[in-house]
Symmetry: C2
Subunit: 350 residues, 2 copies
């Protein structure tokens, strides 16, 4: 197979972890005879620094014309604590999601056997948990009109949803539930928000096409609690953009480390793969960042293009790295292995 | 002391747990020579059923003219799964918060020693955790304009904040931090939301009045993770309405049971005390609901009026109930004690 992949290393630890993902893909390409062509481009703070624009035209065009996008991480504290910054790294990411029409972000959550003890949750709570979060990614308060009055004393964010936006991701989520344990939990705040009530109505309607899937509803405050009290109750979780942002990061604690979790964002034509962790600037250049989430993002990419066998080799390699404790300090505080060594182990295994 | 207290038992288990809180207050009144006059009124689904209005005029007037409000819980599934319901129990609660100007909801989080094992989190994670969440309660998406187009295919919720709304709760939160470990964590989504950027700016400004308090910022997705990974890092958390709703329910898992947590909502003139759990309709009338959160809400009420000694007696009684395992099934699955027995134990102890 020939694949052209746009690579956006981004900020902080992005470049180092993405390098390891590329190495894994190169190794796969060699062994299984695929040609992966990578083209790097700028996005995030690094793009602002070099071009003034968090998503330069060139980067966007590249992403629109490749088979897939592999993203590291974006974000820089120098923008976070400056409420007056006019241009911010995140705008690049949000614009990219919108322009590529990446309406569904999908995050699988499952603890690794060998890491069960490193979760803050008790073994009996997380052992056997296995669910997937479908987060709507191009709507809601992320993209609604924002206002700030001239005096800078009054601000607003509009959260909007249309039936169409809810319908398309709902179908994806129900289809996924059909292939799993046939349960879908819709998370919303329908007792307060009008958009949530629309979500409930539309999801109920879509569910008629999937009579074999059991649908239930949870308020987001309760969901945030249930994820920790009893994560095994979930199979597929479906929710809007901001709730999905919060709940999927929260759910990462179940796996023992956010450094292990990849996600895929899907549109009609495009797909983007990334680790879910952030740019973690304090760790930049120290060879301590966990590359596994990025390597697994590469595996999701392979799966997306039907290269299941190849993806499985990566999953296997990562399992071995964890089993042999070839892991970074987030998973083993006294580890002598760094980003490079973990990445090396994985590509050698392939 | 003479206190006139409006009691709104509400829906589901509300009436049963509130009864136990009243019993505790009666006992305190007798022993310490205070006169607590209770006046019950309707709010929630029960008010809709009887009057068509989730917050009847009479209830509102009563609350405006009493020293404090003691609330059970509101909510009924018959409204939750009907996106077309025009009147819902929650509207009563939201209207009450608005009319009484209850702009700050305060929830202390601290695990009980005797219950540490019943948390889904490991002992070493939660032992020693002790923080308070300040949630803004009369602004944000809860109260902004809501729209639904005629075809019912497009909905919106507006999240709005003004400098003034942010300033008043910030002062409360900073003052509380000064009396505690002098750390305040502002939780927002300033990398995406305009309202969050306003929060950051205003809180930074208010912080100048409290140079002894260390201020830091966390994005809400990260905060949802940090609450579970390392709850001991927090002292005072300050956040907007919806984020506070999610995070404070999530944080309840640290204490081992949501059935233990009371909260107080404060305005310039009024104060409302309630358990943070919901109406839990499945448990209604079964004598299995945990009354402790409501009893502790009564203790918070006493503290609010300076009756510290009396409040401490209640805290002590609750600790004893937990120590002697006179608790409901949420805390001890094979318990033979119910709502009444736990309430009885506490008032006898007084
Ligand atoms: C960086 C930020 C804008 C982003 C989001 O909130 O969507 C991130 O938290 C994520 O979840 O991918
Ligand atoms: C019942 C509901 C409207 C309410 C809220 O969301 O504020 C509840 O969850 C709470 O936290 O008091």
């Amino acid at each position: 197979m020939n694949l052209k992949i746009a690579v956006l290393p981004g900020d902080g630890i992005g470049p180092e972890v993405i390098l390891q993902a590329k190495k894994a893909l190169y190794a796969i390409g060699e062994v299984y005879n695929h040609e992966f062509v990578f083209e790097d481009a700028l996005m995030g703070a690094v793009a602002i620094d070099k071009t003034g624009n968090p998503l330069p035209e060139q980067t966007l065009n590249l992403c629109l014309n490749t088979d897939a996008v592999l993203l590291g991480a974006i974000g820089d504290p120098k923008y976070d604590n400056n409420p007056n910054a006019k241009v911010r790294p995140e705008q690049g990411l949000l614009k990219l999601r919108k322009e590529l029409g990446l309406f569904a972000n999908i995050r699988p959550i499952k603890p690794y056997k060998a890491l069960i003890e490193s979760s803050p949750l008790k073994r009996e709570i997380i052992e056997g948990a296995d669910f997937t979060i479908f987060r709507e990614l191009t709507g809601g308060a992320y993209f609604g009109t924002k206002t700030l009055n001239e005096e800078g004393t009054h601000a607003s964010d509009l959260c909007e949803y249309s039936e169409e936006e809810i319908t398309r991701i709902s179908h994806l989520a129900f289809k996924s539930a059909q292939k799993r344990r046939k349960k879908l939990t819709m998370v919303d705040k329908a007792n307060v928000l009008e958009t949530s009530r629309l979500w409930r109505k539309v999801v109920q309607k879509v569910s008629e096409d999937y009579p074999d899937v059991k649908l239930d509803f949870l308020f987001v405050d309760n969901a945030a609690m249930q994820l920790i009290l009893n994560p095994k109750q979930f199979d597929v979780i479906l929710t809007e953009n901001l709730f999905g942002d919060i709940l999927s990061d929260e759910a990462s604690v179940i796996t023992g480390s956010i450094g292990l979790l990849p996600s895929v964002s899907l549109g009609e034509k495009n797909a983007l793969f990334e680790p879910i962790h952030g740019s973690y600037p304090q760790a930049k250049g120290k060879n301590i960042a966990n590359p596994i989430a990025s390597i697994l993002a590469a595996a999701l990419l392979l799966e997306h293009f039907g290269l299941t066998k190849e993806a499985n080799v990566i999953y296997k390699a990562v399992e071995k790295a964890i089993e042999y404790k070839v892991v970074t300090v987030d998973l083993k505080p006294d580890s002598k292995f760094g980003t490079n060594e973990v990445g090396e182990f994985v590509s050698n295994f392939i």
